[in-house]
Symmetry: D2
Subunit: 357 residues, 4 copies
């Protein structure tokens, strides 16, 4: 899959390389034929080598970690920067970067540019948006839905992991008006990397292993993103029930979604809508009717698996989707966006087969 | 908690001691002050010592395992037999036992006597009921609902683990007519011991760790039991949506249950119903409103934790329940039934505090 | 097991109740017939309820957590205090406690009083001993070795988890002069609770699951304790090779110990020494020759399992021991010490059978 | 890394594609630019699609599984066959294959051709060798040691996972006569995929999670392979102490190896030997002195990490090595052998970076 007219190598930066989405970007980009890892930042680990922070990179030569403050955006001349910083710290960083290096493209993995409505942002995140002007420019980066816009974008807001896992199966059904928008229940189970790498008591192995629990019941921030995208897809306001759970696995989200078909739409009809919608997509695979996916079978890959089964309650269907929260739910999706924005073939660097067992 | 008039020790048998519910019964009964473990059966392991099958019992003196065929029911004179055999093998065994030793009481942990309607049994289990007469005598053994009947019963059908976890929070709400019986969605996550100890490829560590999946989507056998008990509680036919999942932990079920309050019943109202219903129950604990439980906090104990939270969709609530499938979901519940049937204080032998972490 | 002459209930305090050894003490003492939990301290959580810090205690009435500073030792009049504080903070706390309430007995679970040689303490822990006078009074609390001294002690230093797991199999062999003291290699594998509950990046679930690693290679602090006890047992200086590993399980230590029999002592001879030494001990079980233990079979119990097998290298044997680091390796051992110090039967409150699976 | 003179694609067969080493071969070969997966066999699953046996392959077109009996070796004209069959079934299969298609090359992942001495084979495996003539032709396939022989071989015996993990650090030290061959203790910890995919009770999730145990103590079959290779390296008979353990992770072996330097060789000297030996090897990485590896940092990659640390016992060192038992310990090593045998660059298809977390 050559990329004829493009520069052989694009200069890439990863801001926030000491977290899990940062290291996952490095993992993928190390094997991307058109990426040159030119900049890695990690404020608290500045001056250290990546192999100290993530020993799996010991055999590789990588740039020394630097702080964002010490980075001269004009000088590094990045073709594209991935921003894997915590929520609420990102808007100012990107505004500054784009002011100084306006030709650099940006894929932001935080939630900072996902909500088009800055009032909704302020409500859910508890503070004013710091870059409302840039927000207008930002494109929501779910490639399967917004591919053409993404190709032309300078700033892409990479979707959240939970929302990706819910949108991929539900958005086509809402667009096709095949399900009732008022009866969607999303029960999501996530692996622990979704909670990040910060040292918190509730993330310790002994707190997390051998158990499962719901959290953010009734008030998780990803709801704002779901509302926005599902309302756009349905052409009306949609508010879904969504409960996230944390469970003892590293990677993966499984969303078990309970829906009701509209006006006689059977579970088989819903399956047909999804099967057709994704027939040519490289990273979404719809299983045969009645089969449902397991998270382990997409681990480490950029693939999403979707299954549809018949509920025994007439008119209702159960849709199950699975993806790796660090790949299709974050860094793989981000590389897919990069490929679109820089004109590389969509699957470049993302061909890795799932690691099972 | 003395048991004045009763015999100091009851002669107890465990049929099927080589499985997980069998070993869990032995664990509990070893420390039950009124239980004498007089008989342990395990057909395929007959002649072996329990410590060979379960090395945690190495320090204890226990009866050698025997086969059921070689057991003389008249001679062993059990006060009570726990039957922890696979589904569909139990009806004949118990019929034979009760014919030869009609004074022995029986707690059956299989599904064989749970469905009062033998036609429903035949439909869900694929063969005729082998002891329809005994079925009429069997009492469904959820102590919190059928305590008085259980005290007088000779044959008690111990509830299923999934159904216990769903009934304890939902039955009181249906009885109080506080929730809409037509909009109940139960999303259940179970640890692996729920799948038993038989050697199957899909239960291997490498198949199960690092992932989660739904199974029996739309057609799990526990549905029949849920239908029966929920319909009784509601006083009308109830068919719920129920999806079980398997996940990498040994013990525990978490049920996330989506309900709609009837006629203006708020989530707080539902919480109040449950709080009142369980105020004096030793083994069901309702958390403060808005808090939801974690399976790890009931591990190894006979406790059920229940939480109720407000959904952001008006009128809807999210009820979460957690229990240990091997204790309150099986063997602990069975000992609780035994205590009722033999006249011991309800909590005897079941006082163990949860093992966390 | 009644305790005739003793007070029905002893007033017990747990200092440091918000950590894992603290919660494990509470778990055990809640079911100890002679313990009244009169005081629970946790400086950072002072004012909170135990159920907030450890939800498994939600159904129980327990004292509100207080800070040590706010505790009036004269007023609370504890019969015995368990000290489950971090290393290096304990010496001053206990000195103060015993000055103000000299009749209170103390079981200290930290390393602060384990080394009789305060110079060795200073070397390994990097600061002077803060209570050298008390150190002279302290008794090393491995009941199986120092039972009689412990019965008369006011201050007992509870052994470390790794050292308990190594001493129980090796000390009798050194005492019997059955193994070469210069060729002992201890390869130990520990569950994560051994690393405590403090929020550190390297203890996060995603850092720890799906892997194993050695740490403290060549310089782990438990070595000082091993040196002291093994030298005492052998009657000469002993320096062993010891490598601890951390692995993804909550509880348990497995020590695989490589030894050489002295002057023709066969592996069977070593087994015989251990079998005889522990024949009447309630909490150490020696498996039949050739069998080796699994940590899961002692989980949650106060039991230690020991196995001895023949190496194929002539003259060498492989000794494997397993215990639960939070029970026999910490809090169970501490309660065993309490029973000795207060005159209760040794096994009181420690009868719980291992939780497997 | 183009392969100029070679055919663009080699026809490859995987015999035994329904096991873990089989599926791992498929995972790697799907992304190998010079491999065409022409044949997949799985006797018990013949007629099924690979996606049924391993759902992670659902998005891929792969040959339908066939039985070996139904395979016409002359017709399929494989360039190379990987044999991932159980031990003891392989000798006859390969003899038949090579008789009918003598130009096909074979990499055998079983133990059937690893022991040059057919008498040793008979002793350890309990039956006569079925292809002693072929045995003479077989080359032991540890590329780092036998690279040149492998390039010319028709039949390569892929090393065992435990032995690879021990040989890579120890063989260079024995060759350099830097360690005492009579004092090598190897304590190995393996993930569960090393035990294969056959349905056995002791491999169930609930039997294996939350614990660790040694097995085959004193008599594991990999010892024969260690004896052979270590004796060759040392130029004299070597018998090592080796204890394998099973622990709850999917992939990875950690070997903690206790050695004594010869004639004043310090731990730093041993480190220098290894560092130099592997300076140019693409798949073995020696960490800086004093650092030791974690299995998680090589997961999914073909990399081996080796560390050397100083023991506090004078003259002794602790060497720790880590590899993924399914990659460098089996299928990755096999593809590395294939690359050598067919003339492709050594790293082709094996560039994948480790998947952590």
């Amino acid at each position: 899959m050559p990329s004829s007219a493009k520069p052989a190598k694009a200069k890439i930066g990863v801001l926030g390389a000491s977290g899990y989405t940062g290291s996952e970007l490095v993992r993928l980009l190390l094997r991307h034929p058109h990426a040159e890892l030119a900049l890695l930042t990690a404020d608290r680990r500045a001056g250290q080598e990546m192999r100290t922070v993530f020993p799996q990179f010991s055999p590789f030569q990588l740039p020394t970690l630097v702080s964002i403050e010490d980075t001269d955006w004009k000088k590094v001349k990045l073709d594209l920067a991935f921003c894997a910083l915590p929520h609420a710290t990102t808007q100012k960083v990107i505004a500054d970067l784009l002011e100084k290096a306006p030709k650099t493209k940006v894929v932001d993995l935080s939630a900072d540019f996902r909500l088009a409505d800055t009032a909704a942002y302020a409500k859910w995140y508890g503070h004013e948006h710091h870059a409302p002007k840039l927000q207008r420019e930002a494109v929501y980066g779910l490639v399967e839905v917004y591919r053409e816009k993404i190709k032309k974008a300078r700033l892409v807001a990479n979707p959240g992991c939970y929302t990706s896992c819910a949108q991929l199966p539900i958005t086509p059904l809402l667009k096709a008006k095949s399900i009732d928008p008022d009866e969607i229940v999303i029960d999501a189970k996530s692996g622990m990397t979704g909670a990040g790498r910060s040292a918190k008591e509730e993330m310790l192995f002994s707190e997390v292993s051998e158990g499962i629990h719901a959290y953010g019941v009734g008030h998780h921030r990803h709801m704002a993103e779901l509302d926005q995208e599902f309302s756009l897809a349905a052409g009306r306001k949609v508010v879904v029930t969504f409960t996230p759970h944390l469970m003892p696995m590293n990677r993966g989200i499984l969303s078990t979604i309970y829906v009701r078909g509209t006006r006689g739409k059977s579970p088989e009809d819903l399956h047909a809508v999804l099967f057709k919608f994704y027939a040519k997509e490289p990273f979404v695979h719809v299983l045969p009717f009645g089969q449902t996916p397991q998270t382990r079978h997409i681990r480490g890959s950029n693939m999403t698996f979707i299954g549809v089964a018949r509920d025994r309650v007439p008119g209702r269907a159960i849709v199950v989707s699975a993806l790796d929260n660090l790949v299709k739910g974050a860094s793989g999706q981000a590389v897919q966006n990069m490929n679109m924005m820089l004109g590389y073939p969509e699957t470049t660097g993302l061909e890795q087969v799932a690691l099972f067992p």
